[in-house]
Symmetry: none
Subunit: 126 residues, 2 copies
């Protein structure tokens, strides 16, 4: 598993790890049932404490992306993440619809939103 940590980024280390693992699950780079490096191995690889790698794995387990068991290791969880993604996309669509309604109410034009979309989407291409 490949993970890059930026020491300059404002994002905390455990957060960077989480994001990249999620990303790799979404893209299929990490597949269902696949074993992740142990917390210690990952910690060593990233020059980070075990607590930090644990924090990332632990959070992702709570979110349904990973499954851990003592002595065995940590693995990509079953189908749930995909359903989870579907669900998250729907949630995001709802938020987007609400946000656009608010924008209209404030008198913003479609062009206004397009401009901001361009700007924000480029953001940080990490």
């Amino acid at each position: 598993m490949n993970i890059l940590l930026s020491t300059t980024s404002k994002e905390p280390l455990f957060q960077q790890i989480k994001e990249q693992i999620k990303q790799q699950i979404y893209t299929g780079e990490l597949t269902e049932g696949e074993a992740l490096p142990s917390m210690r191995v990952l910690a060593k690889q990233l020059k980070v404490s075990v607590i930090t790698s644990k924090r990332a794995y632990e959070d992702l387990e709570k979110e349904g992306f990973l499954v851990s068991s003592v002595g065995k290791g940590t693995f990509v969880a079953g189908q749930q993440p995909h359903f989870l993604r579907e669900w998250q996309v729907r949630e995001l669509e709802n938020d987007f619809e609400q946000l656009i309604a608010d924008a209209k109410r404030l008198g913003l034009t479609k062009r206004d939103l397009l401009e901001r979309l361009e700007i924000f989407f480029e953001g940080d291409e990490s």
Copy 2:
């Protein structure tokens, strides 16, 4: 002006003050143009530092609820939704930025968002 502070509440003091002033503006208990107690008077009344009363008034001014001027005092703002709108637009921009970051993390493309923008913006052409 009547304000009650709970010392046991988890809400910070300045927040409690803000909420109650907003409430009184909404209910009409405080009316447009009406003078509020000076920061010092309020501070003394609530047994709180001037910085805390200022923090409350200052925030509410930024949000468009109050208007302050040196030597005169602090007053309930008119219904010009001008400041309020500016503030709401900024809030909406922040939300939009966050939403786009989430969308990227979920693997949505800019095109995906554009399509939804088209759909949702037409939504109800009331």
